[in-house]
């Protein structure tokens, strides 16, 4: 017996509106409600709702043999509640089947783990509470923002009670090893690490509709034949991808939904693979060794590291200035400011400031509301400036009416 672990990441940021420096100190509303609503409703219509429907039918049809995992960010949940509550309903319907596991992450899809551990823990806690309230069970497995992971991050997550963590299986870490095994965190060996098989995952998520690709067109049967080619000792295949693959990144016309629909039956009929949730996987398969990940990795871009968000000076500067406010935020209890503090930490803001053009430029540009990374930076910093002023005012800081110190 061998197993496939299907994991889908659901996320939408709360995007910023155009915030000019004239607005600093005068307007305290930062978000582009119009765009956020439009985008969310569109993605719900093209992706979340139809895909959930297909998955639900597949679960019922396969009588419990088809299992999947999701992680939904807090910012997505907040926006579903306002703009598309039917999406939450459809996820609850999925939860009710008992074949779906919901994983934990940071509420605001942030990079806080890199800067402020206390903040990170709070966000994870809030997220876990939300998931429990919505779907009835508390997450036991963790999938950090963009699957960012390192040995230390793993140890931290284990401390918080998680049994396993999902992350990327990049070549520069694996070297000769295969992602199709379970590994242990070296600092806390109780934590199991599931590595994404990026070859097969990206075949679906990125290459599916690319007619220049050698594997095009990809059918469920073809995919299963690739699975069968994996050596028998490698028991696990982790297929991790953004849920927006289905209907947004890969549009309906590419046949992606037909592929999804046909996949479970093709797997069951032609191979010895089963579908398992992450918790099932760690129960059924032992880790084979520890895996050392000294520096953070992620599933983003070719480099699969942090450069998508922190690769250039603009990103680093914005990130620094943001987290410099942590102490002041701790003294603040204004709920609106605290909500803004969460939304400003979403990783997407930094993603938009990336200057990586070539292979990854298309993905960066996809949902990017800005024309250039400089504009993204400028806009974010204007908002951050205003946030700082409000924060200073509320915490009665004497340096109130000034811009951020340079």
């Amino acid at each position: 017996m061998r197993s496939i672990c299907l994991f889908f990441k659901v996320h939408q940021p709360v995007r910023l509106r155009k915030f000019r420096f004239f607005d600093i100190g005068k307007s305290d509303y930062y978000y582009d409600d119009y765009s956020n609503e439009m985008i969310l409703k569109r993605v719900a219509k093209n992706c979340y709702l139809p895909a959930n429907e297909i998955l639900h039918d597949l679960i019922i049809k396969n009588e419990g043999r088809f299992k999947i995992a999701f992680s939904i960010s807090g910012t997505a949940i907040d926006q579903f509640k306002i703009y598309a509550p039917e999406v939450i309903e459809s996820f609850r319907k999925l939860a009710a089947t008992g074949c779906v596991e919901f994983l934990g992450e940071t509420y605001s899809h942030s990079l806080s783990v890199l800067k402020n551990t206390a903040e990170f823990k709070r966000q994870v806690e809030t997220h876990a509470n939300t998931i429990e309230a919505l779907f009835g069970s508390r997450p036991k497995v963790f999938a950090n923002t963009e699957l960012i992971y390192s040995d230390e991050i793993g140890a931290l997550v284990a401390e918080m009670g998680y049994t396993a963590v999902l992350t990327e299986g990049p070549n520069h870490i694996l070297k000769w090893r295969s992602p199709n095994y379970l590994y242990r965190n070296p600092i806390n060996p109780a934590l199991v690490v599931l590595l994404k098989n990026f070859q097969l995952s990206d075949d679906i998520a990125f290459r599916f509709s690319n007619s220049d690709w050698s594997g095009w067109p990809l059918t469920a049967q073809k995919f299963v034949s690739w699975l069968k080619k994996i050596p028998k000792e490698e028991k696990i295949v982790n297929l991790f991808m953004n849920y927006e693959t289905f209907g947004e990144h890969q549009k309906f016309g590419t046949g992606i939904f037909k592929f999804l629909d046909a996949l479970p039956s093709a797997v069951f009929r032609k191979s010895d693979y089963t579908f398992m949730t992450p918790s099932d996987i760690i129960e059924n398969y032992p880790p084979i060794s520890t895996l050392n990940v000294p520096y953070p990795i992620s599933w983003a871009d070719q480099e699969r590291d942090l450069t998508a968000w922190l690769g250039n000076e603009l990103q680093q500067e914005a990130f620094e200035k943001l987290y410099q406010l942590s102490e002041l935020v701790n003294k603040c209890s204004d709920p609106l400011l605290l909500k803004d503090w969460q939304y400003l930490q979403t990783s997407d803001h930094f993603y938009y400031m990336s200057t990586k053009y070539f292979a990854d430029g298309d993905i960066h540009a996809y949902f990017n509301p800005y024309n250039s990374p400089y504009e993204a930076f400028m806009n974010y910093m204007n908002v951050l400036n205003d946030f700082t002023i409000r924060l200073n005012r509320v915490t009665k800081n004497k340096q109130s009416e000034q811009f951020l110190p340079n």
Binding site: F21, F22, N312, E317, S372, N385, N406
Partner: protein, 429 residues
């Protein structure tokens, strides 16, 4: 391959980008072993860099006793008639000084000096249209007297000359559109200029435009077929930093600079408005408008009206080293052009390590990544960008560093290579 080029300006006697572009292009072209250039201008002033080219002043070419026959010049007969005046009573002395030429069989006369040379000012005076026509006449003679494979005419002032040379020699004509009257006038074109431009484009075998913005105008407003028009972006001369005195700024404030002709096309009024907005919220900044032009007085009045005259400075026209000094002193260079066919000056600013803000309505915006781009009318956006660059050092440092790298990669040799390919296609056609 020998190229016969017709231009109007050549450094150091320039009033805009045309001369700079011609200089850079000729340098780039002559770096190829198989290209030689004869460059014709109306008037040679002295001080030009003639190391790479044969420079001919049209005013130095005698045209007396020459057979100059020009076809299809029907429309320009007006200028000749007006200028040369089929004078009924001519003093015998004067008559000797008038060289006869025929246009479509109609004889007309042109005034020459004792040695049979035509007088040119080489500038943009009130006599411009007739000067262009005389230039064409001399071009005909030059074409008869020189060996070359292809003719290359820069901008409308030289198109008639290019056409005349083509008629005299039968060689292919490439015209280079550095600007159109649509850019200069903002839409209300001068019919005479339009006619000259269109005739040039129709007569040319290939047309080079300096940006896709300009290419679009040529195709759509002049009715030219797209296969004939190729975009070759301008570039920038690398600046040498040796032996330059260190720049000492006389005051603490940041400096935001507009450097260019102060005329409607360059959008100076939007700069003044944006400056006023910025000064409402920031104190530590000064604005400089460097250049001169027909709307300069209007700008001075507007600055006074907005009560920002103490922070808004006018330097007048800057030449040579002064330009570099001004750029080096600046914290931001801004080009809010309403319609800029290309725009070499932001590249010069970027070379000096200055962050730039340019309008989307410029050709250079098509190729730059490390510049802030705004619509020329978006005064708020401009002010926001100025504020952003001045307040967030990470941004200004990054724009400076990557901008410098980006502009240094835009060299004339690459542009020249593409021009060479255009020559080849013109020769093969």
């Amino acid at each position: 391959m020998r190229v016969l080029m017709f231009g109007w300006e050549f450094p150091p006697n320039i009033s805009g980008g045309l001369g700079t572009a011609c200089y850079g292009l000729t340098k780039g072209l002559t770096s190829f072993d198989d290209i030689d250039i004869t460059f014709v201008v109306p008037k040679v002033f002295g001080g030009e860099d003639k190391r790479n080219i044969d420079l001919i002043g049209a005013g130095d070419v005698p045209i007396i006793n020459r057979n100059i026959s020009m076809k299809e010049f029907d429309k320009s007969i007006e200028y000749f008639e007006v200028n040369s005046k089929l004078v009924p009573y001519v003093d015998p002395e004067d008559y000797k000084n008038q060289t006869e030429f025929s246009v479509e069989g109609t004889k007309a006369l042109i005034e020459t000096d004792v040695q049979g040379r035509v007088k040119f000012t080489g500038k943009y005076g009130p006599d411009l249209l007739s000067e262009i026509a005389r230039y064409a006449l001399v071009a005909n003679v030059i074409a008869q007297d020189n060996q070359f494979d292809v003719i290359h005419a820069h901008d409308w002032l030289a198109y008639p000359a290019g056409i005349a040379a083509k008629q005299a020699s039968g060689k292919p004509l490439v015209i280079h559109v550095h600007a159109t009257d649509f850019d200069r006038s903002g839409g209300t074109v001068n019919p005479n200029v339009y006619a000259i431009e269109k005739r040039g484009m129709d007569a040319a075998d290939k047309i080079i435009t300096v940006s896709n913005l300009t290419r679009k105008i040529v195709i759509e407003k002049y009715g030219i077929s797209p296969e004939k028009v190729i975009t070759v972006y301008n570039a920038v001369e690398p600046y040498r930093e040796e032996n330059k005195a260190p720049i000492i700024r006389g005051f603490d404030e940041k400096i935001v600079t507009f450097l260019g002709r102060i005329t409607m096309q360059k959008g100076p009024e939007y700069f003044v408005e944006a400056a006023s907005r910025v000064l409402q919220r920031m104190d530590n900044v000064r604005f400089v408008m460097a250049g001169s032009g027909d709307t300069m007085n209007k700008m001075i009045r507007r600055a006074a009206q907005l009560k920002i005259a103490n922070k808004f400075h006018f330097t007048g026209f800057l030449k040579g080293d002064d330009v570099y000094r001004m750029l080096k002193m600046s914290d931001i260079y801004i080009m809010p052009s309403v319609s800029e066919p290309f725009g070499i000056s932001p590249l010069e600013a970027m070379q000096a390590g200055v962050p730039v803000i340019i309008s989307h309505q410029s050709g250079v915006a098509e190729i730059l990544s490390n510049a802030i781009k705004i619509n020329f009318w978006d005064v708020e956006g401009m002010a926001d960008a100025i504020h952003g660059i001045l307040s967030y050092p990470a941004m200004s440092k990054m724009l400076a560093r990557y901008g410098k790298k980006e502009s240094c990669n835009l060299n004339w040799k690459d542009a020249a290579y593409k021009v060479k390919q255009v020559y080849r296609s013109a020769l093969c056609a």
